[in-house]
Symmetry: C2
Subunit: 207 residues, 2 copies
Amino acid sequence: MESITTADAPAPTRGRPREFCPDAALSAALGIFWAKGYDGASMADLTAAMGITKPSLYAAFGNKEQLFHQALDRYEAEKLAYTREALKQPTARAVAEHFMRGAVAAQTSTCDPKGCMGVISATACGAEGDSIKAHIMQRRQSSNAALVTRFEQARQDGDLPQHLDPQGLAYYLYAILQGMAVLATSGATRDDLDGVVTIALSMWPTS
Amino acid sequence: MESITTADAPAPTRGRPREFCPDAALSAALGIFWAKGYDGASMADLTAAMGITKPSLYAAFGNKEQLFHQALDRYEAEKLAYTREALKQPTARAVAEHFMRGAVAAQTSTCDPKGCMGVISATACGAEGDSIKAHIMQRRQSSNAALVTRFEQARQDGDLPQHLDPQGLAYYLYAILQGMAVLATSGATRDDLDGVVTIALSMWPTS
DNA sequence: AAAATAAATTACCGATCGGTACACAAAGCC
DNA sequence: GGCTTTGTGTACCGATCGGTAATTTATTTT
């Protein structure tokens, strides 16, 4: 089984060289999947945005589903970088604020599709979507686990009330993040979401 | 232009009578759209669940898009009845609690698809989805406006802090509701969402 | 120069999509 | 009994879906 990922290929400079940049093509595919979801993105949409033909796409990325997973990996690596930064913040409140501010910025950026690709893809995948849902749920769970761990530490630090359930708080924060993503997808402005963040922070529990 | 809705037809008892119950068929269609979204629901899925053939469907409901709008109307009338009840609660806190408890019950019911049909449909509609998005956004805005009005009255009642922005609070509550819907769609249990509600209520502002 | 390798292009595959033409069946009106 | 009206079933429409076979083009290796 050949590996197909974009970041291998030591330098097999034999045969005709490809005429497109796989990195740029993958970014273009990410934009389509992000905007339209897995099912909503047709091969015609993808090839048009990537500037390549179908056989080139299949040779470089496997098939539509594998291309999607690679695009999702890139999305998480690039567009969700703020979540890893957020976990390093000194207080639970700062963690939550970094999460929410980062989410608002990512979801309402003027040079990217609105909303969260994970939310769009998890809610909008049909028959073969099991593999995609599994991917997103796994990603969500690992991210959630990290957040729970961070809140548990915060409680030990006296940074959160003892009676507060870290798991519940993590779910609560996640609900706000995903909810803002839904609102962003259906037309909410950046100011609207900033208002949500302000309110949520004003209610954030004090130690 | 003939009206096609299910609730007209005074009694045109001429011609062959139809052999299916439009109400039951519409409920079956609602179940499919709710579970799979607009694009994800194929005509084959719909006719199989409704127990009728395509020509019968087109004669009774117009086309796929019109069928969807009728299903969405029924969804709002039946499954979102708790929202109208919630607005009548005596305090802002009770309003929010009723909203959230009702949403959790509706989104994790064992005899209905998981999640919120509005969220699933708004995030998962492709090309012709503009009409659908418009329908959902309009519904959301009117519902949001009612909630803002209710919170403004609550603030006048001394039921909410004066400094709190009713519009922001409404968006905040909406974000939690839609976020829980996303979580429910991708596997969260009823207990998980109850935890979110508990936390959110524990933070709810006191006058 | 010839062979080998790999990408690009074109044209096509079967399956499924939403939607419909057409013939037939069941009822009321005359 | 027709005749009209309306719903049902079958079989089909063009378009699009994801995916591929076959050929040509470009480059490295011998």
